[in-house]
C-alpha cells in the first residue's frame, strides 16, 4: 500500500534522506528505529507533506497514487494519518469541532454527505473509551494545556475516529510514562487489521513490547541499513546504534 523508492530529501539544502527504500503491505506494522538525527522524523514529515522538506529524488506511492503530488489535506483524505511527535496546541478551536471538521473533510473528499450528528456522537464516545479519554477533553481547545500523555492520547484518539488506511506514528512513545504508553499502544493495537498499515517510528525498543511489529528497519544517515523481524529491535536495545553509526547526527545538525 505504501511504496517508497530511492527517496532523497533535503531540509534547508542539507540532504537528510539519502536513497530510502521501503515497501509496506496492508495489514503490516513496520517499525523504523534509528539514532537521533538519522532522518526518522524527516521521513514522517515528507510522507505527511510538511512544508520545508524538499524531495530531490525518488518517489512515494500510496495505493497506486503519487503521494508527493498531493497537498497534505489530500493525503489525509486519501487515508493517510500522521500522529505528531509534537502535537500542536490550537487555542480557541474545540477538540470536538476540529474532529467534526476533519471527519467531514474526509467524507466530502469521498463524495459523502456530512456526518449525521447522532452517528458522530456515537462514534466519538466509542473511540474515547479506546484511549480512556473523558468528555471534558472534547470541549477543551485542541491540545491546549494538555499534558504530554494527554496530547499523545489525543493523537491516537483522532486516528481512531478518522480510521485511516495507513498511519505513521512519529515517536508517539516520547514523553510517556509506562501507563500512558500502554493506553496508547492498546489504542493502536485495537486499530490493527488486515486492511490497515502502520509505520511506527521510535528511538527506543520499549514501545515495540506493546505494539509488536512485523518488520523492524534500522535507519542511519537517511537510509535503511538493516531490516529484520521484531528480534532486531531487541538486538538494537542490547548493542545500541554504535555499530551502524558511521556519521552520526547528520539530520539533527542540519535541523539545528
Amino acid at each position: 500500500m505504501l511504496e517508497i523508492r530511492n527517496l532523497h530529501a533535503t531540509v534547508e539544502g542539507r540532504e537528510i534522506l539519502n536513497g530510502l527504500d521501503l515497501i509496506i503491505h496492508p495489514g503490516e506494522v513496520h517499525a523504523i528505529m534509528g539514532p537521533n538525527g538519522s532522518g526518522k522524523s524527516t521521513l514522517a514529515n515528507v510522507i505527511a507533506g510538511r512544508e520545508g522538506y524538499t524531495v530531490t529524488e525518488g518517489e512515494v506511492v500510496f495505493d497506486g497514487k503519487n503521494l508527493l503530488d498531493m497537498a497534505p489535506e489530500i493525503r489525509a483524505c486519501e487515508g493517510l494519518f500522521l500522529a505528531f511527535q509534537y502535537p500542536v496546541e490550537i487555542p480557541g478551536v474545540a477538540n470536538l469541532y476540529f474532529l467534526k471538521a476533519a471527519v467531514n473533510a474526509v467524507r466530502k473528499h469521498r463524495g459523502e454527505p456530512p456526518v449525521d450528528a447522532m452517528d458522530f456522537w456515537d462514534l466519538i464516545h466509542e473511540r474515547m473509551e479506546l484511549v480512556k479519554m473523558d468528555d471534558s477533553m472534547l470541549k477543551r481547545s485542541v491540545n491546549e494545556g494538555f499534558s504530554g500523555g494527554e496530547k499523545k492520547r489525543n493523537e491516537v484518539f483522532q486516528m481512531a475516529v478518522l480510521q485511516p488506511r495507513f498511519a505513521v506514528l512519529d515517536e508517539t512513545d516520547s514523553g510517556l510514562d509506562i501507563d500512558a504508553l500502554k493506553v496508547v499502544a492498546d489504542g493502536v493495537n485495537a486499530l490493527r487489521g488486515p486492511e490497515r498499515g502502520f509505520l511506527v517510528i521510535t528511538h527506543y525498543q520499549r514501545l515495540l513490547d506493546y505494539i509488536v511489529p512485523d518488520y523492524v528497519h534500522v535507519l542511519v544517515n537517511g537510509r535503511i541499513v538493516r531490516s529484520g523481524d521484531k528480534s532486531l529491535a531487541l538486538e538494537l536495545e542490547e548493542q545500541g546504534y554504535a555499530l551502524y553509526n558511521e556519521e552520526p547526527g547528520r539530520a539533527r545538525r542540519a535541523a539545528a
Partner: protein, 435 residues
C-alpha cells in the same frame, strides 16, 4: 449701499450658518452649538502632524465638499434586527425614521426616545445632560457633532429601573457625500440597568461623526454594544464619553468592521469607588481599510477595576491602530487596570500600530499592559491540514478561533450569533456546528 465682493467662506461656516437658521431650540442649546462650532474652527480638521492623529490619515476627506444629507427612503428589510423584542429607534442620515422604528412599553419615568422629541417636550432633560461629560475636548469631530447634531437617541432610566428588553439604535447613512452627526445621550441613574445595541451602517460615500455620552450612576449596570458596519467608502470618526459612579459596571463591546477609515475615541472616567469597566474591542479589516481605537481610561477613585482587550484581524493592506492610556490618579489606590492589544496579520502588507500606555500616580495599584502582533501559526495550519481540512478552511478556523474569543463574551445571544455569522462570511468560513 456699497458693493462688496463676497469673501469666500469656509464651507463648514456656511453650512453652520445655514443649519442654525433652520433650528428653533432653547438658548442653552444654541449657545452650546455656537461654542462647539468655534472650537471646531479653532481645532480644524486634524492632520498627521498632530500627535493624537499621527497614525490616522484622513485621506481625501479634506477635498470632499460634504453636504447636508437628503431625506432618502430606506427599506426596512435592509436593516438588521435583534430577532428578539427590542426598543428600536432608527435614524436615517441622522434624522428619526418613525416608520422603521418600534417603541415598546416602558417602566414609568423611563425614556427611550429621540433627542428631538425630548427637546420639545422636556427641554431641561436635554440641557441638563447634553455635552456635560468631561473628555474629548480637543476632538474636532466631537465638536463638529455638538455643533451639527440634528437628532439622536435619549435614554434615561430613573433610579433602580431595570430595562431588560434591549434598546436597539440604528444609525443608517445613505451616502451622496453627506455628513451625518448621530448623537446618543444615555443616563442611568443609581442602580439602573440597561442593554444597548448601537449600529452604525450605510451605503456610498459619507462622513459620520457620532458621539455617545454614557453616564452611569452609583451601582448602575450597562451592557453596550457598538456594531460599526459602515460602507467601505465611508469615514467614521466617533467619540464616546463614559462616566461611572460608585460600584457601577459597564461592559462595552466595540466591533469595527466597516469604513475606509473608522476611528473611535473613547474616554472613560471611573469616578466612583469600586467602579468596573470592561472594554472588548474587535476589528476586522481588509483591502486598504484603517481601523483605529484611541482609548483613555481614567481611574479617579479607589478600588476601580478596568479590563481592556482590543483585537484586530487584518488582511490585504489593512491597518489597525490602538492607542490606549490608563491613567491612575493619586487618590485612586487599589486600582486594578489591565490592557491588552492583540493583532493577527493575514497578509504581509497588513500592519498594526499598538501604543499601550500607563500613567500611574498612586502607589498601591495593579496595572498591566501588553501587546502582540503576529501571523497565523504555520504549525497549527499544517496540523489541521494533516487531518484533511483544506488550507482555506484551516486558516479560517484559526482566524475564527482568534476572533470568536471576543464575540463569545457578548451575552446577547442573537447578536452574538449574528456577528459570528458575519465573521464567518467575512472569512469565508464554513460554519460547522460543534457543541
Amino acid at each position: 449701499m456699497t458693493a462688496i465682493a463676497a469673501v469666500p467662506q469656509d464651507p463648514y461656516r456656511q453650512a453652520f450658518n445655514a443649519f442654525m437658521t433652520s433650528r428653533r431650540e432653547p438658548a442653552t442649546i444654541t449657545r452650546l452649538r455656537r461654542e462647539a462650532f468655534t472650537r471646531f474652527e479653532t481645532l480644524g480638521l486634524p492632520t498627521r502632524h498632530q500627535e493624537a492623529w499621527r497614525f490616522t490619515d484622513l485621506g481625501t476627506l479634506h477635498q470632499i465638499a460634504f453636504q447636508r444629507s437628503a431625506d432618502t427612503p430606506v427599506e426596512a428589510g435592509a436593516l438588521p434586527t435583534l430577532e428578539i423584542p427590542a426598543h428600536r429607534l432608527v435614524f436615517v442620515n441622522g434624522r428619526f425614521a418613525p416608520g422603521l422604528s418600534q417603541p415598546r412599553p416602558l417602566p414609568e419615568q423611563t425614556l427611550v426616545a429621540t433627542l428631538g422629541r425630548i427637546l420639545s417636550t422636556q427641554p431641561r432633560q436635554v440641557t441638563l445632560h447634553l455635552d456635560q461629560l468631561p473628555g474629548l475636548t480637543q476632538h474636532p469631530f466631537v465638536a463638529l457633532n455638538t455643533a451639527f447634531w440634528e437628532d439622536g437617541a435619549f435614554i434615561h432610566l430613573p433610579r433602580g429601573t431595570v430595562v431588560e428588553t434591549p434598546i436597539h439604535l440604528i444609525f443608517h447613512a445613505t451616502g451622496g457625500d453627506s455628513t451625518v452627526h448621530p448623537r446618543l445621550l444615555l443616563v442611568l441613574e443609581d442602580g439602573a440597568q440597561a442593554t444597548v445595541v448601537v449600529e452604525y451602517r450605510g451605503q456610498g460615500r459619507y462622513l459620520t461623526a457620532p458621539v455617545a455620552e454614557l453616564q452611569l450612576g452609583d451601582g448602575a449596570t450597562l451592557d453596550y454594544h457598538e456594531v460599526q458596519e459602515e460602507s467601505l467608502q465611508a469615514w467614521h470618526l466617533g467619540g464616546i464619553r463614559l462616566r461611572q459612579g460608585r460600584d457601577s459596571q459597564s461592559r462595552l463591546h466595540l466591533l469595527s468592521f466597516g469604513g475606509q477609515l473608522a476611528r473611535t475615541d473613547l474616554e472613560a472616567l471611573l469616578d466612583g469607588e469600586g467602579a468596573n469597566c470592561t472594554l472588548n474591542g474587535l476589528t476586522l479589516a481588509s483591502d486598504t481599510q484603517v481601523s483605529d481605537f484611541h482609548v483613555r481610561v481614567e481611574h479617579a477613585q479607589p478600588r476601580g477595576t478596568s479590563q481592556q482587550l482590543f483585537k484586530s484581524v487584518l488582511d490585504g493592506k489593512a491597518r489597525s491602530v490602538f492607542d490606549g492610556m490608563i491613567h491612575v490618579r493619586p487618590h485612586a489606590q487599589k486600582t486594578d487596570a489591565r490592557q491588552a492589544s492583540r493583532n493577527l496579520l493575514l497578509s504581509k502588507q497588513a500592519s498594526a500600530n499598538s501604543n499601550p500606555r500607563l500613567e500611574i500616580l498612586a502607589d498601591d495599584v495593579k496595572c498591566g499592559h501588553g501587546s502582540s502582533t503576529g501571523f497565523l501559526d504555520p504549525n497549527a495550519e499544517f496540523y489541521l491540514r494533516a487531518r484533511g481540512i483544506d488550507a482555506a478552511q484551516a486558516r479560517a478556523m484559526l482566524v475564527g478561533a482568534f476572533a470568536n474569543d471576543s464575540l463569545n463574551s457578548i451575552q446577547l445571544t442573537p447578536l452574538r450569533e449574528r456577528l459570528t455569522r458575519l465573521l464567518a462570511t467575512r472569512l469565508s468560513l464554513d460554519l460547522i456546528e460543534g457543541e
